[in-house]
């Protein structure tokens, strides 16, 4: 469910579970983490994309149904944290093609990107608190990406915003009209970034990480993990199983 390929000097990792809107499973996150770890040396930019109409609709919460002790939810939260953190320490630029939907865990992945593209009618947001799940795991990354106000609004409010609003608030950097155009334009951006001097790119990325560090990333994960198995989650999470994806 994770594909990867080197195209010239751009390495593309694709979430490939289009029939489930690329909903994340623990295995997918482990495979994503593994793919990030083996980016070939020739790669000078990474493109993260999702197959089909939606970039990523978040965790596959149906899996939690058969895991009443919270094992699956813990694996999802930990895997998500590890993937975003791994993206953020890469010395090559990371471009994300977020067409259609980047919701919950899918929205969280944006925190790992340097250049994020979406489309005007895409839906982005983080409506998980209504399920008794804490989105704190990605708060440190989203805050670094788009500022404290945006992180608060998206994590605490249950609504979704469209691609135009995401561009305006800094959750995305380029907004196209057609969803089908997002991935090809993102590849173009990635190729352009890959053509730039890698030494200067890496030095600039390291410097930006030093002057604008991500605060409390591990604590974000702990806060989300501490909510797993809570009475509130047990009461509210089944709401997710009744909604049709």
């Amino acid at each position: 469910m994770i594909k990867s390929a080197l195209q010239g000097n751009v390495f593309e990792i694709t979430l490939s579970r289009p029939e489930k809107r690329n909903a994340l499973t623990p295995e997918m996150l482990a495979d994503l983490r593994a793919a990030i770890a083996v980016i070939p040396k020739e790669a000078r930019a990474l493109l993260l994309s999702g197959e089909g109409a939606a970039f990523c609709a978040g965790f596959d919460l149906a899996l939690c149904k058969d895991s009443p002790d919270g094992t699956v939810m813990r694996a999802l939260l930990t895997g998500l944290h590890e993937c975003i953190a791994a993206l953020r320490v890469l010395e090559i630029p990371v471009v994300i093609a977020a067409q259609g939907a980047a919701i919950a865990g899918g929205c969280a992945l944006l925190g790992g990107g340097d250049v994020i593209l979406t489309n005007a009618d895409a839906k982005l947001g983080y409506p998980v608190a209504r399920l008794g799940v804490s989105p704190a795991v990605s708060a440190p990354f989203l805050r670094n990406l788009a500022g404290d106000g945006v992180a608060r609004a998206r994590e605490l409010e249950n609504g979704l915003i469209d691609g135009r609003a995401a561009l305006a608030c800094g959750l995305a950097h380029e907004c196209l009209e057609a969803p089908e155009a997002v991935r090809s334009r993102a590849l173009e951006v990635a190729r352009d970034l890959a053509s730039k001097p890698g030494h200067a790119m890496a030095a600039t990325k390291r410097w930006l990480a030093e002057i604008a560090p991500i605060s409390l990333a591990a604590q974000g994960l702990s806060v989300s993990l501490a909510r797993v198995g809570s009475e509130e989650e047990k009461r509210l999470l089944p709401l997710a199983w009744s909604t049709v994806r």
Partner: protein, 252 residues
């Protein structure tokens, strides 16, 4: 010849980068004159009746074409001196108690774009060219990066600095690098005058107190970070790759 002109008219001072033949590129001499101008302004700003708005602009068509790297190619000591001078100047300019307005009359590139971000407000027109093409040349915009992060936030700063190239005044307005946008260059004087008049009508002490707090909130006056940036920038500049790209670009 003085490369930086300071003019004071009542509550408004104007600092003009005056090296039009070099598109106001930041040479050591220009930076020395800028330091001297702001040094001259600092003491008078603390008293009453002195300027409480400073407009920074460029003579001729460009605002500032960035660091004058031609003079320091192949000389890493001079390069570090130039970058450190810019680094210290950014903090000195930011520390002024008066409100500082960048009137970006034309191209603001690299260090020049960085200077506009040090100012409290930046005004330009839709067709001006702004941006940070450093990575394209194999160099690292380390001195100006902290200012861009403060101005537009870390995420947008990453996008802007890593993608390099240039953007229009309109695009710079959309991403928060520019606060006030005029449709055409012809309107820039009038729009700037309007903004400056409003600022000059404010209580100078309230403005100064507010600016001081804002500077504390984002650690604006941290000299160590920009000086470290100057060292990093100089070390990347000294690599053979960067030297070769710059020679090709500058025809040196």
């Amino acid at each position: 010849m003085n490369h930086a002109l300071l003019a004071i008219a009542g509550p408004v001072a104007t600092l003009t980068l005056n090296r039009a033949d070099a598109r106001n590129a930041l040479s050591l001499e220009l930076l020395q004159d800028l330091h001297a101008a702001v040094d001259a302004l600092a003491p008078c700003a603390s008293g009453g009746g002195s300027p409480h708005v400073l407009v920074v602009t460029g003579a001729g068509k460009a605002f500032c074409a960035g660091m004058d790297l031609k003079a320091v190619l192949g000389n890493s000591t001079l390069a570090l001196e130039l970058l450190s001078s810019l680094a210290l100047f950014t903090v000195k300019l930011r520390a002024l108690p008066m409100v500082v307005v960048a009137k970006v009359n034309g191209a603001a590139i690299g260090g020049g774009c960085g200077l506009s971000c040090v100012c409290d407000l930046a005004i330009t027109h839709a067709d001006a060219k702004l941006g940070y093409p450093e990575v394209d040349l194999g160099v690292c915009p380390a001195v100006v990066a902290p200012w861009l992060v403060r101005k537009v936030g870390a995420g947008r700063a990453r996008k802007i600095l890593l993608t390099g190239g240039l953007m229009s005044g309109r695009e710079a307005h959309v991403c928060g690098m520019i606060d006030v946008l005029c449709e055409t260059g012809a309107e820039l004087d009038r729009v700037t005058d309007d903004v400056v008049r409003r600022l000059a009508a404010g209580g100078p002490q309230a403005l100064a107190a507010t600016k001081k707090l804002l500077n504390e909130l984002d650690s604006s006056l941290d000299e160590a970070i920009v000086l470290k940036g100057a060292q990093l920038s100089a070390s990347v500049l000294a690599t053979p790759d960067a030297q070769a790209r710059l020679r090709a670009k500058l025809g040196a």
